[in-house]
Symmetry: D2
């Protein structure tokens, strides 16, 4: 299969390369980067020396590479302008940005501060959360790959909301992310000197992943959904930990519920009762690891969910979607154990 990557110099780009470069069923035809055009990929990312023998190409030079599938790992606002030309030629696309995630164009425009230039492909796009939309993904031409926070939060709430067991009007997601979630751009607050040995919340009054999560949760229930979503910045490289709170409206064996819902899911691991998953236990992998608690036997369910924000939260899930779209085994290239310690 011939694969192209648009926007390859960020963390999701190099992560796609890390996971794809070892596969013999995939040929990476090009990887573009406006800023790095002409640079060897392994000069920017020495970890890929011996694995990737490509130069970054100029995105403008990538007109027709007859790829089977193209990944967009570009900033928000790029894919909606460029992908339609490719899509119209019949190329399949997985977009890792937010351009095609929100079905409500007005909501998208308010949160992203741009006019959407391609509402027609928003309609056709399939949201790339296989645990919800596996069938549709397989036949989609355009997949909108979920955000990192939304993946963990939706998977954690899924069994509870789907089964109608909780008050969906007062959900709380207290979520903590490793700093690669902020991207590879130069920035003072993300310097090691500023962000290490410290911890803080951010975007408490409003974060772009809120409408994405609420849209996803609304698709699981007929009830009204309202979420309080608090993101925090962890002084770690990779990893998201979601701590989710929901009020139970009936008695239920939560452990059994979670195990049953995800029994056939290759990338969701429900831990034994009483467990506390660590982010490092999924470092470098496509796994989302969950545990569910009911503290003191009171009426609140607490779900703990961990994922690697660059893998299940981005590049790994994008490859999982690619596998589904291209008729390859869903887990292909995604089954390494975590790097731990």
């Amino acid at each position: 299969m011939r694969i192209g990557i648009i926007g390859g110099s960020g963390y999701t780009g190099v992560e796609l390369l890390r996971l794809l470069s070892v596969r013999d069923d995939i040929e990476i035809v090009f990887i573009s980067s406006r800023a790095q055009a002409g640079t060897r990929v392994d000069a920017l990312f020495p970890s890929l020396r011996g694995h990737v023998d490509l130069l970054f190409s100029d995105p403008d030079d990538v007109t027709d590479a007859s790829c089977d599938l193209v990944f967009y790992a570009t900033p928000n606002g790029t894919a909606m302008n460029q992908a339609p030309a490719l899509l119209d030629k019949g190329t399949r696309v997985v977009d890792l940005s937010a351009d095609f995630r929100l079905k409500d164009i007005a909501v998208w425009e308010r949160w992203y501060g741009m006019t959407h230039t391609c509402p027609e492909w928003v309609e056709k796009a399939v949201y790339g959360l296989p645990e919800m939309y596996r069938e549709e993904i397989a036949s989609a031409q355009l997949v909108a790959n979920p955000g990192c926070y939304p993946t963990a939060v939706q998977l954690g709430f899924l069994p509870l909301v789907e089964a109608g067991l909780v008050d969906t009007g007062s959900l709380i997601a207290d979520v903590k992310s490793g700093i690669t979630g902020a991207g590879r751009g130069a920035s003072v607050p993300n310097l090691l000197a500023e962000a290490s040995d410290s911890f803080k919340a951010y975007g408490v009054s409003g974060h772009r992943h809120l409408p994405e999560i609420e849209q996803g949760l609304a698709n699981m229930t007929a009830e009204n959904v309202s979420l309080t979503f608090t993101p925090h910045l962890l002084p770690i490289i990779r990893g998201i930990h979601a701590t989710l709170y929901a009020r139970l409206n009936q008695d239920v064996d939560l452990q059994k519920l979670f195990e049953a819902r995800f029994a056939d899911e290759p990338f969701v691991d429900v831990m034994p009762a009483g467990a506390h998953p660590e982010t490092r236990s999924v470092r470098g992998t496509n796994m989302c690891r969950l545990a569910v608690h009911q503290p003191q036997g009171r009426g609140t369910a607490v779900v703990l969910a961990v994922e690697d924000n660059l893998v299940k939260g981005a590049a790994g899930q994008a490859i999982q979607n690619m596998n589904l779209m291209l008729g390859l085994p869903e887990t292909k290239g995604l089954l390494q154990p975590a790097l731990m310690p």
Copy 2:
């Protein structure tokens, strides 16, 4: 003033020394440690070379040092056995352990798994949270210094609960602590190789600070109090960040409420509206820094509170209490700016 420290080889012990050794109104008469008896203090803690010229003494040799005040920085279960002898002689005591914090002996015994040997002093003990009990502390003979989590959580909820503005039956405290909160004992899970570059929750089904916090909150209101309390382990040395959730039962200017409540408090700093306090902004200081939000204008208040778990969460607050008890200025020795970066 003559001061003694029982149990000085842990993190709260060395922190008491860091803060007290530079004061010229305080003489540290002894610092005991069963394990380290005979060792120079600055051999164990080279940061104190030139500041502390003492050896750890055997606690059994510390019979009568005619101290004005003695700190217990011992594991739970020690002070309740040893402090009464001192108290009976009239010495004043600040206990940094949990022995005298819970008024309900049965609750204490269930959570701490021991029989309490000194219920009579539990009754007389004053809970050392100056923002609530300043007057009583000043005249107390025995102060039970609050736990690290309870300090941040109580201060954060205080204005809301006291004013009756929230549903106290469904409070949530999602709290993250630096690893010194786990103490200085050798332990595999707290190794740098295990705990760094990772994040996890722990004790979700039940943590000893839950009844302490619920007791404190109950003292602020006539309503029923129920808290979901989720502690997490941060890969940082010092610092606690509490993210608190409460459902508002009426409209109110939260910023004004918080500023008014803490206007005269020297160690509570309400940040401007929209702020996100960082743990490093209080590193090494006795300050608790707060911000309050109402995301999306919906009905949930979100309070962010940071403190240094070893200072306002332990040794610093103990010294603040000591200052009050000895009639010294409350802020004496506690006003350094944070070490940032």
Copy 3:
């Protein structure tokens, strides 16, 4: 191939499992641990959930597992007592401890503080540094897997010493190691609270890897060898960085020398002139990445060498040796790109 692991609950044990569990040509027959006997491996290491379906067995129960090869990942002093029985039955062994590394028994006994119980197998053992002893390893029955520091230091000095270009009487190795090098035992100095956000040297007056390195260097030259070796502790999980200093005794193109020496080595990567390898560029891989400098054109060569102490410095090199011993492709299972970022 049937493989056994003795002493599997430490970091080299879990790393062997991480690298071997994904291979379909290898069957892990048993993994023993006296302390963890009866525990599921993936209960101790959740990263292996779904990958390793074994319990730790008691080492005493592992009498005859008819393995093709057994790894000893035990503390020093164990393999010399237990491996001979296996070896006498014809089983091949890779020992990751120091028991068979030093040819001079008296030197070994002085540095390790024990009487050596099996000098006859020391004589037969082959030192497992493939870049020096590839042929001998392939036919060895017992391979003494090199220490983590000695691997990086020997590979870095190799081209210079072999070619007789430097004064081997005044070599200096200033080496920094990630904290997994200290093992998985509970220990106060290795707590995150003690070792993070700090840096120190240790063992400056004498470290056990000194005689191992000097023995290896002496095998490369007829000249007298004397090394000043200074280990330091890095607040990182994995990674060794060796900074090596040698006085040149003639003019030479160092870059060309290094590239030529390692041209055919699959696990030594000589970076372009002027480069500074980062430890993260080899995180999780079996690669040793080198750069060579001659600062200010003066007479001192400076070699920079990085490796992952748990892979090329331990488990990965052990598997490289296993591959050679069992006639498998040397690089099998060892070619993943590093986890970066």
Copy 4:
């Protein structure tokens, strides 16, 4: 005393404020920053809330503030243009940049890539290393505050070179610095996502502190001086660790030598024989802590030196110099214990 700070928005600026704001003998009259002019200082640095009630002023508005002393905490190339006007009016100046450190203008211009605009004040400037030039500093009008690396390296070599005990033609300084040494500018390599959990050397072929150190060492001896200087980047916030190597040309009691040389120095602490100083033991303090070793009794001395790069390596030493220049006690405001843990 009235003090001004030019260039206050970097790490040395905020560190000057941290140390000076608690003093009652010092009034900070202004702190300028072109980029931050008009911003409250405590909005940029919340750690200073309640301690500094100033706005950053525009440097162009700071014409005549009748200060007793002004600190330049500006990038290289600024003070040489601006300070002369102040100096000519009689104001005393401590320059924390490199502008006045090198006596040889040609060497300075080669390493800093600029034409020096003020050679006459280079001649008059005193190098601010009190352990070498205490007298001259006291009466200087302009003090060139040493670089962070040069402070640790010069103090570590001082006793050996001064006494003529080592071969000064083959000195080696292998030095590791915390990341605040790279400043507060936005930069990809210094992101937490790039620099944490990793380690590398940099500038091996040539670093600007090399000529500064060689100039300093040359002032201690009549012999020829040649240094190999290798800086490395540590994933910690503060702290420099210098590991120094020198060949001894005679037998000597190194411990006694070091203790004698620094017996009267308030900010140099010689640790007991066999010690390994940790950077955290000086975190936040003006102390340089040393240990000296002679590994295996061979002919190489190894000196270990730690300092806080922002204090003894920058702002603290600048204040030590200020104290000397203004006739205040040299240690005033600089005697807090380190923040450890």
